[in-house]
Each structure stands twice: as structure tokens, then as C-alpha cells.
């Protein structure tokens, strides 16, 4: 009854402008010849060239990718188990606490998570470094994975697993042959989300990292505090570009899968 009217168009145009203009400007000024952010000095890719010579940024990028890769992989494993436990294991002792520990990290202020995780490492005399950042990242990103898996698991009929058992398949083989292929797209998007969460995190990494484990966000943050520079714009543009390509590809794959299934 309510048609797509002028109000809706205005809301979308203004809303998306608000969401995208800052990012577009950021990308635009990464190609600015001039060092001044407000003066357009002509097109140039020289800031990208300078990045290549910035050893600090290159080191931080390497640490970040390592941490993101390992933490997202472990988080996907743990989160998948947690998501299955939440949907298919019925009631068990301490279920409420378990689900609390899954949902709380997603809204909990990062300063609290960062501080508490760090204090635990200190009290156990574990040195801060790549390991501690990775452990902290696994812990909060596994919760996101668990929720993605949980919603996929609860959207398909459990009698499919029962049917496999009924046809003589052992519980483990049932998981490998039936459950895993069905939830695979959710596992992949869970991994992607965990990867970008780790890639983006500043606060928790600041608490839990030590010398030698400076991640890219920490590096960018320390540069930002000194002011806006085209170099930061260039790093940011690369990150935004990577994430965009990843997300768009993932969603295209998902869309094609859906279409293949829908076509008769």
C-alpha cells in the first residue's frame, strides 16, 4: 500500500551519501599530489610508492595478516563447534552461561575485553606478543562465527541429519557428509568476518600486543594522532579496497549458489 515514495528515495540518497562520502573523499585524497588534505594538487600515486618504502607499515601489515589468518581459522573452528552446540545439543548444564559468553563479547565495550584479557595474561606471566593478540582475537571473533553458524543451523531441518543416521551413517560421517556441506557457506562467511574483525581491531590489539607485535591498526592509530597525511589515506584505501573486493566476491558467490539452486 505504501509505495516507494519520495521520502524513501530521499532517505536512501542522503543516508548513502552520509555513509559513503567520507570514504570516497578519503580514497580521492590518497591520489592527491599535494601533502595538504584540502588542496587538490593533481593526480598522483606517489603516496603508494612511499608506503612501499615504509618498513614500519610493511612490518605491521605482515603481523596483522599473520594474526588475522591464524585467529580467523581457529575462531572459525571453535565458533562452528559452538554454533552447533547451541542449536543441536539441546539442554546441557551451564547452557545459559555458554550462550551468555557467546553473545556478550559482541556488544561488550572493547576496552573492557582488552583490559581483562591483558590482565589475565600478565597474571599468568605470559609475555605480550603475537600469541596474546591472536588468542584475544580468536576469543571475540569466534562468537561472531558461532552466531552465523547458529542461524544457519537453525534455518535448516534437523530431520536431514536424522535421515542420515537412520540410513546407517555414523554421527561423525553424518557431520562430514551432510551437515558440513550444508553449512559450508556460513563457515566461509564466518571466516571472512573473523578475518576482517581481526584486521580492523585497534583497541583489543593495543592492550594485548607487545613490542614486535604492532599491528596495522595500531600503526595507523599512532600516525593518525600526529595528523592527517596522504600516506594514511593510501594505506586506508588499500585496506578498504581489499575488504570491498572480498565482501563483493563472497556475496557474488553466495548469490550464484542461490541462483543455481533456484533454477530448475
Amino acid at each position: 500500500m505504501k509505495k516507494f515514495g519520495n521520502f524513501n528515495i530521499a532517505a536512501l540518497v542522503i543516508g548513502f551519501s552520509f555513509l559513503y562520502i567520507p570514504i570516497i573523499l578519503l580514497i580521492l585524497f590518497s591520489f592527491n599530489e599535494s601533502r595538504l588534505v584540502t588542496v587538490w594538487g593533481g593526480f598522483s600515486t606517489k603516496w603508494y610508492g612511499e608506503l612501499m618504502h615504509n618498513q614500519g607499515i610493511k612490518d605491521a601489515a605482515w603481523v596483522t595478516i599473520k594474526v588475522a589468518f591464524i585467529s580467523s581459522t581457529v575462531a572459525t573452528l571453535l565458533g562452528t563447534i559452538a554454533g552447533i552446540v547451541m542449536t543441536r545439543f539441546g539442554n546441557f548444564r551451564g547452557r545459559t552461561l555458554f550462550s551468555g559468553m557467546i553473545y556478550a563479547p559482541m556488544v561488550m565495550p572493547e576496552v573492557i575485553i582488552g583490559l581483562s584479557t591483558l590482565l589475565m595474561f600478565v597474571s599468568l606471566a605470559i609475555d605480550r606478543g603475537v600469541l596474546t593478540v591472536t588468542l584475544a582475537h580468536i576469543t571475540f571473533s569466534m562468537c561472531y562465527v558461532a552466531v552465523i553458524i547458529q542461524s544457519r543451523m537453525s534455518s535448516y531441518d534437523d530431520s536431514i541429519t536424522e535421515a542420515a543416521l537412520d540410513l546407517g551413517c555414523t554421527p561423525f560421517r553424518t557431520f562430514m557428509l551432510i551437515t558440513f556441506p550444508i553449512i559450508l557457506p556460513a563457515i566461509v562467511s564466518g571466516w571472512l568476518l573473523a578475518f576482517t574483525l581481526s584486521l580492523d581491531d585497534l583497541v583489543i590489539a593495543s592492550f594485548t600486543s607487545g613490542p614486535g607485535s604492532t599491528t596495522l591498526p595500531i600503526k595507523i592509530y599512532s600516525m593518525v594522532r600526529l595528523g592527517v597525511t596522504p600516506e594514511i589515506n593510501a594505506v586506508s584505501t588499500i585496506l578498504v579496497g581489499l575488504v570491498t573486493v572480498g565482501v563483493v566476491t563472497a556475496s557474488l558467490i553466495g548469490k550464484r549458489q542461490k541462483q543455481q539452486l533456484a533454477q530448475s
Partner: protein, 376 residues
Amino acid sequence: MTETTTTEPWLDSNQKPYIQIVNATKKFGNFTAIDNLSLDIYKNEFFSLLGPSGCGKTTLLRMLAGFERFTEGRVLVDGEDISEIPPHLRPINMMFQSYALFPHLTVEKNIAFGLQQDKLPDNIINQRVEEMLELVELTDFAKRKPRQLSGGQSQRVALARSLAKQPKLLLLDEPLGALDKRLREQTQFELMDIQEKLEVTFVIVTHDQEEAMTVSSRIGVMDSGKLIQVATPTQIYEAPINREVADFIGDVNIFKGIYKGQDEKGTQLLSEDSKSIIYATQKVDVPVGNRIWFALRPEKLEISKKLPEVDCNILKGKIEDIGYGGSFSTYHVKLENGRQLTAIRANRERTAEHHLTWGDEVYLHWVPHSAVVLLS
């Protein structure tokens, strides 16, 4: 199926039951889903569990399949206790209400799935899959994915998949529930043919009494986790043991009243509706003065404008409502005391010679033989 089962094994004390459910109880917390239920099912039976939703019929089926554990009691198949055997090791297969086809596997891979679990050689698997596809007439659809199938085709794949392993017992949970009426009626006969051809024992759960009547050798009517009556479809329909069964299976008119004894016309009931004595041939063994009931199927009530030339079982009323059903019409007749009865009459004449219409004064009548006496 009653006709094709030449012998009725449940009447023969020498026959050994194939499936024995012994004192089965299932509790979910404080809720008792199955209450100390015992049941024997014989080889090659087509047994229906019939009841309203929530009566425990699906729980009982899932206990047989092994998805629910027995709180108490056990189940024997061919004399072996299988109560503690996990589902994937039971010689029983199940056809799920939702069909539960594996969405990522083709039709033939779905059917082959159970055989592959037994690690059979490929040529045997392929041969069996082909047979099954032929049986359900889906050979051309072997390479399709479940999403590319219609409801009826999915149903047949599910059936083929559950039969591929030649189970000792096939459980079917509302197998036709998702199909439209026409397809359902057609598929009922297909199911019966397949069951006969493969000689597999079927236990089917349904809430559709017509379906149960059509396909079953015997029906178990369930309510609140208990079996109320186990009998052939004819017996269940013609001789229900109480008002609940009578009411659940088809339409029924119930007459409430006081038992007044027997005479040459049969059992006398002082009806609360007509305040007169009405008769049923069936004899009862209760003290005079007890409360009893007569159950009368609508098609056994004759309806006419003329006073019937009989000496008993005549009630007078007025037509309130007519439901035209094509081959028959349903009449709602209001008695003088306000009670409404249902009568069904076949529409034999096309013309309106015997035409009955709204507001007509009519007589309802039945022969004493068609009424069933119920004690509860």
C-alpha cells in the same frame, strides 16, 4: 489392505508378532508422551497410528527409529531387543514428514546414501538405485537436485531412499501430509502396491482418518500417549469401542440415554433427545438404569418427508442446513428439543422428485442393526 492379507495374523495365536512394543513409556520432563504402551505388529502389516496432533504417535515412531530413548519398556524386532541400539545401527528405516532429502545431493545419490553406508560394492549400489528409481518411476530425474523436484516427486524420492536398504520395518511419518488431496489419494494406492510388492512391514503415522482407513491392515487409535483401540479399519468404523474413537473416525451422531433392558427388537435406550425408547440390535451386559450411548453414522440415518413404515427408531425434525457434496448431500436436521443430527443421502435422482429443502419437516429413521452401543 484387509482383503489382500488373506490371514489375519493378530487373530491367530500361533503367529509370532514381528514388532513387539512392551510397556513403552516416554517422558519429557514431567510430560508423559507415551504412557505404558504395548503393541504387537505382524510381518507384512500396513499398520497405522492414528490420532490428533500431540497424542504421541510421532514420538512412538521416533522411539522405534531410535531418535528418542525409552524411559521405560523396550521394543523387539523379530525377537531381538533393539531398544538400546542407536538409530544408525537399527534395521529400520524412516520416511520423514519433511522428506529430509539431502539438498546438496542428486536424487540418485540420495537413494544410494544408505547403501553406501553399508559399504556395498558400486555395481550392487547402482543396480539397487536403478531398481528403486524404476519402482517410483523417477528414472529420468536421477541427476536432479531435490530443489528441482515437485512435492510428489520429492515424496517418491524419500520413499525410494528409505526402501533402498530393504529394511525389516519402514516407518512413515505423515508420508502424504504435504501433498494436495488428489495426489494424496493417488499416492495412497501406490504406497499400498509398493508395500505389497516388496513385502516390507509398514508403520505409518497419520492424522488423516480417511488415509488410515484406505491403506491400513490395522489401525491403532491413540490419545494422550495411550492406544484406545487397535482393530481393522472396518471394525474401527463400524464398532468403535467408545465415543472418542467413534467421534474421531468420521462423523457420528451420538444418542445419550439410560439403558432400559432388552426386548425382541434389541437393546432399549431411553433417549434424552426424544424422551422415547430407541433400539440397537447389539447386546450389552450392564445393569438396567446405567447410562449408555448409541452411535450412528450419518449415512445410516435415513431421511424422508413421508412417515417411514416401521415400528421404531423414528425421530421428527426440520432441515436446518444442506451441504451439497455432488454424489451425496449432507443434511443437518434439528429435532424438536433443539438437538441437531447429521444425515447423509446419496443423490441418486437428478430430478427433484425426492427433493428436500430448507425448513422441510422430515423423519429420520434407522434400522436397529446400524446403531453401535457404547458404554463409555
